[in-house]
Amino acid sequence: MRLNNLITNKLAIKHKKEFGKLENCYSGKKKILSISLAILMIFFIINLIPKASALGITPGRTTIEFEAGLEKEIAFDVLNNEHKHMKVTLFSTMQDDLNGSINLFEDSIEFLPSEEKKSLRYKLKLPEELEPGLHVGEIVAVEIPTSTGKDTFVGATVAVISQLHIYVPCPGKCIESDLEVLDAETNGTATFIVPVISRGKLGIGEVRAIIDIYKLGEKITTLETDAQPLESGKRTELSAKWSVDAPAGDYLAKVSVFYDGESKSFEKYFTVGLKTLTIESILVKDFRLGEIAKLQILVENRWNQELKNVFANLLVYNEQEQVMADVKSATENIPALNKKELVAYWDTVGVEEGEYNGKLMVKYGEKSTDKNLILKISEGSLDITGVGYAIRQSGGKGINMTTILLVLVIILIIANLAWFVFFKRFIGKKETKSSGRVIRA
């Protein structure tokens, strides 16, 4: 705001000088005057536009399986991310065959700065019949531009959408599939996961996939996943491992999913890398509790390409495991194979001495390098200790509860059977004998 006023004033002065120089030229003067007024008007309007427009909605998507005549209320939240006074209008859109299926209980809402979200509901009423396949509906939340008196808002408006996906099963067998590649690092073992969802009325006896990996149009290797049965409407995951003996870079995976004599193919790009980004150290100098702490986070880009828009995000949790501080650094570009310091500032006003759990995430694109931390805070020092966690592909050697219950049931059955046999053979006979003796006597 202050910057815009300054620019406006400077422009006004500049144009005033120009105006003075050209005072003998009447037509030129008129022209300049009108240009100056136009520029002043633009800056005046810019000052009216809010510095930020933000809106959120959750869930981004609700998925339901079609049921004839289903009536259901579905919840969603509209988020006031910026904690500002804001009006939001709501409406729904649906495909032709679903017209009138969604009824919103409210068509506009108003946020106070203190309100972070509003929980809302809409009623869904499905028809008796729908064509097989995916049917999409949308709940749209639009921020209503604010206007004060005769001044009107001219900036862009933001709308966020919560989708409703209704799946109507196809008559036979059909699937929906995707590919996820985990741990794709040179000299490591990558895991290829093909999630498959059965979207047909019939279950699938066996589903499996073949993945061909290409680099610049040349096939590198072929992987075959395990095979799984798949019930109608259910989801499973097929997986395959690849010992990555190829250099870092972008690869193409061509996936063919085979299910009971039918197949579906799709392609997806993935990246093989070296361990891309590592958190080297976290340094806090001259810490004073109650003041703003400067966190210097040293990260190393081990990738052979520049990483853009890298930033650090530190979360500090209180005893109730709620986030009590959410600190972000500015974004930086880190050149290939280089180290860079990311600086974040944490306002420790109101923070008490003690030990806190924290999490440091260094984000780049959609990836993130994370580190669990313990923060020991005292009046004059902040000690940060990394805890670290590992995600493994195997583990968990304990006996599962089903096995325990099964063993218990078996033990009890055996014990009772043994008792029954023992009783019949020995005690029963003994007593019959003795009772016989009694009778004879």
Partner: protein, 168 residues
């Protein structure tokens, strides 16, 4: 009369034997349940945005999968308190130590579509949600283009018209 009394006594003896066996089984079950309860990996979970925190005193590993049948599980080593960032979705998990693998639990990380227009020198559209979004730009009700944005990604935009974001 004496015979009747004898038969009654024998019946009582039989019954006592059965009761003893049933009592033994109850004691055995109680001991087993107490032992299982004592060594069961008791774990709590808390979700804050995309961060999931597991808290346990006696669990060593969390087995986590996106499938209820635990196909393709991942194993997360846990200390007393461990947090992990997960993408939105429904997850199935069970705690484990060297003795017992716990019961199946589940949690959902909801998708959030969020957008922000930052107006400094230039206007920038930022994806502040937790999913990849497709942003359609409309002018006077007509769609004039679209932008794909990853979470936390941003793009310079013309500050006019309407930007509508939906999950991809």
């Amino acid at each position: 009369m004496e015979e009747k009394i004898n038969i009654e006594i024998k019946k009582k003896r039989k019954m006592n034997k059965h009761i003893k066996i049933i009592a033994l089984q109850i004691v055995f079950l109680a001991v087993v349940f107490f032992a299982v309860y004592a060594i069961y990996p008791k774990t709590s979970v808390k979700i804050s945005g995309n961060a999931v925190s597991f808290n346990s005193n006696n669990a060593e590993v969390i087995i986590i999968s996106e499938n209820p049948d635990f196909s393709n599980p991942r194993y997360l080593d846990i200390e007393k308190n461990t947090s992990i960032i997960l993408k939105p979705g429904t997850y199935y998990w069970k705690p484990s130590n060297n003795y017992i693998e716990g019961l199946k639990n589940e949690f959902t990380i909801e998708t959030e579509v969020g957008m922000k227009i930052e107006r400094e020198n230039e206007s920038e559209l930022v994806n502040v949600g937790n999913v990849k979004i497709n942003v359609t730009r409309s002018k006077s009700g007509m769609m004039v283009g679209h932008i794909i944005l990853e979470p936390n990604a941003s793009k310079k935009i013309e500050d006019k018209g309407e930007y509508a974001g939906r999950q991809i």
